[in-house]
């Protein structure tokens, strides 16, 4: 791993960071429209004092989180005090306070953090990499990053500051660990095609006119289905995820996933035939195009799904030159 140290306790936050943080807290606190008793309640519920986080600092954290996700409301909707209170109460307040305190470099918070999550994180890293050495290296590298080794504009930047508390801190750590492992994989591996599948082949091979029409019909069909169904198709047909994995992701039963997949396949085929018919195919030709080589459909579906651009997260920063996201 690239990280040099896995001893966050040896690091000391610069004073400027704390001062800037205090100023930011004050500015944010003024924008937090919550009653004092609610803030007091949230602060006590978060046990922020044990992490070395004052009520004012915690209120700044809440204001930052709320502003970032618009208090769980759709964009453009202004939350009122009640909605804000409901949103804050739905957060993992203790973990949020711990993460933010760690981001601020509070020693007490780090002690708690290490005590609670170190073994979990190492275990997840070892399971992910399949190697104890790689797992420990990945976990130490993440610790260093979390502690704020990396600085930007003279400030230590801890990824823990991006934790909003909507999910569990362990889940956030696991996701972050996966991302770091992905980045590491990118850096250490050349781009190789997947076994048995040449990803460049669809683009390189000249597409016959009939297949082009089929692709256009498939694109129209995919645009007409719901996002969850598209994810379902992608996860099952492209990623070869198991029904259990998909079901766990979507929080439904595996049997439900199976039924939905079958229903989706039938509906997709019917819509494809309709689109092909509208594109000038006769019925026999449309059925032949769909049934001639199912892999063609899968390849085109894969290519279509992979090459489609989305503006789902417009607010995100562009990837860095190193290829890392976020």
């Amino acid at each position: 791993m690239d990280t040099a140290s896995s001893k966050p306790a040896d690091l000391v936050l610069p004073v400027a960071f704390e001062q800037q943080s205090t100023a930011a807290q004050q500015g944010t606190a003024r924008r937090l429209n919550l009653q004092a008793n609610v803030l007091e309640e949230l602060w006590r519920a978060a046990e922020a004092e044990s992490c070395g986080l004052s009520a004012e600092e915690f209120s700044v954290v809440l204001a930052s989180v709320g502003e970032r996700v618009n208090h769980g409301l759709p964009p453009g909707v202004l939350p009122d005090a009640v909605q804000m209170a409901v949103f804050f109460r739905s957060l993992h307040l203790a973990e949020l306070a711990l993460a933010q305190a760690c981001a601020l470099g509070r020693e007490a918070a780090w002690e708690i953090f290490l005590r609670r999550y170190r073994s979990e994180l190492v275990h997840a890293a070892v399971s992910m990499t399949g190697s104890a050495t790689l797992g420990h290296d990945l976990a130490d590298s993440l610790y260093a990053e979390l502690y704020g080794i990396r600085q930007a504009a003279g400030e230590r930047r801890s990824p823990l500051a991006s934790y909003s508390g909507r999910g569990s801190l362990l889940g956030w750590l696991r996701t972050t660990l996966v991302q770091r492992w992905r980045d590491h994989h990118r850096r250490t591996h050349r781009e190789t095609p997947l076994e048995g599948f040449d990803s460049a082949a669809p683009a390189a091979t000249p597409i016959p006119a009939k297949l082009e029409q089929l692709t256009a019909a498939l694109e129209r069909t995919l645009r007409g289905i719901a996002a969850e169904d598209r994810f379902l198709l992608s996860a099952y047909y492209l990623d070869r995820q198991t029904l259990r994995q998909i079901a766990q992701t979507l929080a439904v039963h595996e049997a439900t996933i199976s039924r939905r997949l079958k229903r989706l396949a039938d509906s997709l085929r019917a819509q494809l035939i309709e689109n092909l018919l509208s594109s000038g195919f006769n019925k026999a030709a449309a059925q032949e195009a769909l049934g001639a080589d199912p892999r063609d459909i899968e390849i085109n579906l894969r290519a279509l799904l992979q090459t489609s651009q989305t503006s789902t997260f417009p607010g995100k920063t562009a990837p860095t030159a190193t290829g890392e996201t976020q």
Binding site: R166, T175, E191, F231, S234, T310, G323
Partner: protein
């Protein structure tokens, strides 16, 4: 995980972890799904971020094999209910059969194999002509008829008769045994050695009017010559009949006749509900001093006079518990014990009255009027000096419908002899054995007014036919009189009414020579 680099905008770890933990709001989840649908990198991250993805798959717990009976969790109640139903069916089935079996066994115990009545059986054929002789002789000269000027209201020959209370409903059909036990009793009555007819005192027991055609083949004329008129057979067991007999014995005549004397097994034998064994069963408990079967018996109150098969006469003053031999004062053998009532008034009542009562045709007793007349006609013929004729007809209502069960009484104007009959199911009545003359015919049915025909002529040459039409009467006038009870009711009325011509009943012993000896107390006997 795809190894291709993707330079796109991806959700951060906070969003992905929140998505994995289903903590994203709906709109944000929708955007996440839209992105995941086209981003294999993020799908891979999501897949690796699943909480249990790095944990080894837990082995599915092997379901413990349950015992076979545990799988009957829902079948146990049904099985238990089925078992309960089967148990109840068996219980009730046994309960329904047990009384029959026990009763049969009791009957068997009550009817042990009797000793052969050889002393009587060989004597019966010889006794028959002996009895018949004097009877025939008496009927031939008319003196005997004069001697029988007393109105004997003999109720039954070889039967126990009862004079029920006036107005009491008597179910003749009840005499037909409905249960298996009485049915078996009937069979025994036909086939058994001794036949007796128990008396039902009307205390809930079925009472039937037995046909009067009791022509004992062994006795032939003698028995028929005795004015047997009505037989009431009780369907009750012998014990109950005998137990209640003393209470009603003031109006009861009990006679036990050995079946050997009735080899004809006449049709009414099948209607006999209680045979002699059962009546004798009571006696067997307190057997006669001679230890012989009872040939004939008569009961009045607690006094009982019995004749055994050796023609010895015994008297009991305590309902049969203790017996005492009666000194024989008659030269011949006693063959029959009766309880007779001597009329106080109207002594002109002749033997014809008795003979007429024999021919009274009860309706619904299983024997047609013709059969009755055929059986008894010859007997009554010998009792009558003049040739007889008959009166018949149909009783109808105003609409022309026949009225079964109508009581028809035919009174001879000259002698006052009363004959009674009932209409059968087709509304017909038939009274034969009538002497030529003028008769007063009365018909009465429940719900109809009484119809009286003052003068109906009966000639010798041909039978008279007189149809009767009844008019509908008031409901309050309805008197429920069932078939077979009219004569009994009439007799009971006569017994109880002030116009009754009888005194208290007395014992009468008939000898094989036809002599009649009477006694009020069973001790002092006088020849009549």
């Amino acid at each position: 995980m795809s190894e291709r680099l993707q330079f796109e905008i991806h959700p951060d770890a906070d969003q992905i972890s929140a998505f994995v933990e289903h903590a994203l709001p709906a709109h944000e989840r929708e955007r996440m799904l839209s992105h995941l649908a086209v981003c294999p990198e993020c799908r891979a991250v999501v897949a690796f971020s699943l909480p249990n993805i790095e944990e080894p798959a837990k082995s599915m717990p092997t379901p413990a094999r349950k015992p076979w009976w545990a799988q009957w969790r829902f079948a146990w109640p049904a099985a238990a209910a089925l078992a309960a139903i089967v148990f109840l069916l068996l219980y009730f089935y046994k309960g329904a059969n047990a009384p029959i079996a026990s009763e049969s066994s009791e009957t068997a115990r009550a009817n042990p194999p009797r000793p052969p009545i050889s002393p009587l059986q060989p004597a019966a054929p010889s006794a028959a002509p002996a009895v018949q002789g004097p009877r025939a002789g008496s009927s031939g000269n008319g003196a005997a008829v004069a001697a029988d000027e007393k109105h004997q209201m003999v109720v039954s020959s070889r039967s126990v008769a009862m004079l029920p209370m006036a107005g009491r409903n008597i179910a003749s059909s009840a005499a037909q045994p409905a249960a298996a036990a009485p049915a078996s009793a009937d069979q025994r009555a036909v086939t058994g050695a001794g036949v007796a007819r128990g008396l039902g005192t009307g205390v809930g027991s079925g009472i039937a009017k037995a046909p009067s055609a009791v022509a004992d083949a062994g006795l032939q004329q003698p028995v028929s010559a005795s004015p047997a008129t009505e037989a009431i057979a009780s369907a009750r067991p012998a014990e109950s009949a005998s137990a209640i007999a003393p209470a009603a014995s003031s109006a009861v005549t009990v006679e036990v006749t050995n079946a050997a004397l009735m080899p004809t097994a006449s049709s009414d034998a099948a209607n006999i509900a209680i045979d002699g064994n059962e009546v004798g069963g009571a006696l067997l408990k307190h057997a006669l001093p001679s230890h012989q079967p009872v040939l004939s018996m008569a009961t009045q109150a607690n006094r009982m006079v019995a004749i055994d098969t050796r023609n010895a006469v015994f008297l009991s003053k305590d309902g049969g518990k203790h017996w005492k031999a009666v000194p024989v004062r008659w030269p011949s053998r006693a063959v029959k014990a009766n309880l007779v009532v001597y009329p106080v008034a109207n002594p002109a009542r002749s033997l014809r009255d008795k003979a007429a009562s024999l021919t009274a045709m009860p309706a619904g007793n299983g024997m047609s009027a013709g059969d009755s007349s055929g059986a008894l006609g010859a007997q009554t013929q010998s009792l009558k000096e003049a040739p007889d004729s008959s009166l018949s007809g149909t009783v109808t209502d105003p609409s022309g419908a026949v009225i079964p069960g109508t009581s028809v009484s035919v009174t001879e104007a000259a002698t006052g002899m009363v004959r009674a009959a009932k209409t059968d199911d087709r509304g017909r009545y038939h009274v034969d054995g009538l002497a030529p003359g003028t008769y007063r015919v009365e018909a009465q049915a429940p719900g109809f007014n009484r119809q009286v025909l003052a003068a109906v002529s009966v000639s010798v040459s041909h039978p008279a036919v007189q149809d009767i039409s009844l008019t509908v009467g008031a409901v309050s006038q309805a008197v429920m009189v069932q078939a077979g009870s009219s004569e009994i009711s009439e007799l009971a009325k006569k017994e109880k009414s002030g116009a009754a011509r009888s005194a208290s009943p007395v014992f009468e012993i008939t000898t094989d020579r036809g002599e009649h000896w009477t006694s009020a107390d069973g001790v002092n006997w006088t020849h009549n």
